[in-house]
Symmetry: C2
Amino acid sequence: MDLQQLLGIELPIIQAPMAGVQDSALAIAVSDAGGLGSLPCAMLTPQALRAELTKIRAQTQRPYNVNFFCHRAPEPDATREAMWRQSLAHYYREFDVDPAAIPDGSGRRPFDVEAAELLTEFQPPVVSFHFGLPDEALLARVRGWGAKVISSATTVEEARWLEARGVDVIIAQGLEAGGHRGLFLSEDLSTQMGTFALLPQIVRAVRVPVVAAGGIADAAGVRAALALGAAGAQVGTAYLLCPEATTSALHRAALQSEAARHTALTNLYTGRPARGILTRLMREQGPLSHLAPAFPLATAAIAPLRAKAEAAGRGDFSPLWAGQNTSGCRAVPAAQLTRTLAGL
Amino acid sequence: MDLQQLLGIELPIIQAPMAGVQDSALAIAVSDAGGLGSLPCAMLTPQALRAELTKIRAQTQRPYNVNFFCHRAPEPDATREAMWRQSLAHYYREFDVDPAAIPDGSGRRPFDVEAAELLTEFQPPVVSFHFGLPDEALLARVRGWGAKVISSATTVEEARWLEARGVDVIIAQGLEAGGHRGLFLSEDLSTQMGTFALLPQIVRAVRVPVVAAGGIADAAGVRAALALGAAGAQVGTAYLLCPEATTSALHRAALQSEAARHTALTNLYTGRPARGILTRLMREQGPLSHLAPAFPLATAAIAPLRAKAEAAGRGDFSPLWAGQNTSGCRAVPAAQLTRTLAGL
């Protein structure tokens, strides 16, 4: 069975879920165009998730995907947090931020019972996970309404792990991809491969359909991925300029500038490595810091700096997530982009 | 004009020059099969270079490529060398090596007047460079006998730089590639992109033919590269098991083991980042060390450890160069592999 039959879609294109830069509008547009639209849920409150799912159900009859992170929520570590904030002290002075007044906490929750119960009402046809899979009981709930399950692999080992747990589709996430690396069996970034190397090796290692992600920006990229054995392509960065995305003006400008040529993996914004355009924060601190608190706790200390800089029109402290290939970014409706990616 | 017309070859396949694991035999086999065979010259004495060129001229009528490094030879730094050797002291004790008896120096010379004069006698039809280009006077000599000039770009900026200096073909070296990264305008490894992202961006940025390198292991990989706009593919790793390669038994065994799944960029063996299979040295020291002397001086201090370990049948201190996709490695004649890569 091919990817389209399996997921009930027309085109072998999955719009990558991108928390912070899109909501249901992008997902609806892509699904209506025949691709698989995705709703990123990691940063949504239960109320917001309900509202978004209600919109999707009202506005499209086509299959769609809801995406969750399934990290284990970390124990806060006061010593590490203090060291982290100390390393940022000169920024707090520069931006007149009172470090004592910065709230703890983070907007990113792992998939949990509450989310699963809410989903049960809506029965989304596809559920995708990042950072592995939730525990068996939670996964059984998702399977209970017949949802197809997708997760990302960044190594052959992770792909085999996911297949052994019965996922229906595996995303082979190449190193070129924007946003959070999905790695979950190792924290060693030297295990991470480019799409050209990762994709065919995963295709050879598993029997389920493999969808390529990372560096795919246009129809030629989709054709190349299919030539390497992919059943389809997951594309994120190219959608960031679509009117249906909520990408900030700062982020849109950066994507269209020379700055977009230089991305890096950074853990400064969340605690986990994610690819984004190099910013002042990343340049000055080094994009990867051993001081950054565990995911997602690193976010809190940067948030007030981001807010002040953005208010001044600067993205110096903003996570400007992007993959290594922004050449496909177009300010065109997502439906048009989806069909173009599929070669139509 | 396409790549084959430009270089006078039949198939759009360049065998990547791989110093230390091949000599003229591999180059001759690939050229005779219709691809472009390459002779890596960086580690050859003038006498050896003459002998190899004599063999090539005697054994094939087809075009071939000679490859040189064009780094600037560094000034030895006694303090850094001492710190480097200090960090290796426990290995010297373990292997009963007298650190005071380790010779300085290295087998890798940059392209120079002597090499250019020797080449003038043989007039090789294609000359490729790694780490940019030699100075104008040297390059003019190469052009003097009508050689086509190739060099590698690891960023769009490097591709533009090479095109502005008149190279005939640009290799887009994706991060998946084995051996030395060709980067030369920056030392920042975060600038390095996967083939899926790098290739189409370079194709768009320059007018000369672009050859894809990095992660290409089979005919499907070549087709994918062509779909992304490449004029051809440069393949290295897949040739390492060919009988014409001089790859050591240790290296061949590692390539066929699970160990080959995990490569990393390391500067421990030469001073410049190069991709190879993770070894004990890389695991224990971390693959990238700020202590490693400048290229190619780092080689000397590791050499006696490599020799002792290899004598004991272990590759723990050997540079086991390999790309991120070893799935195309086959112990078949290079001519057969070349035709297979081209889809014949």
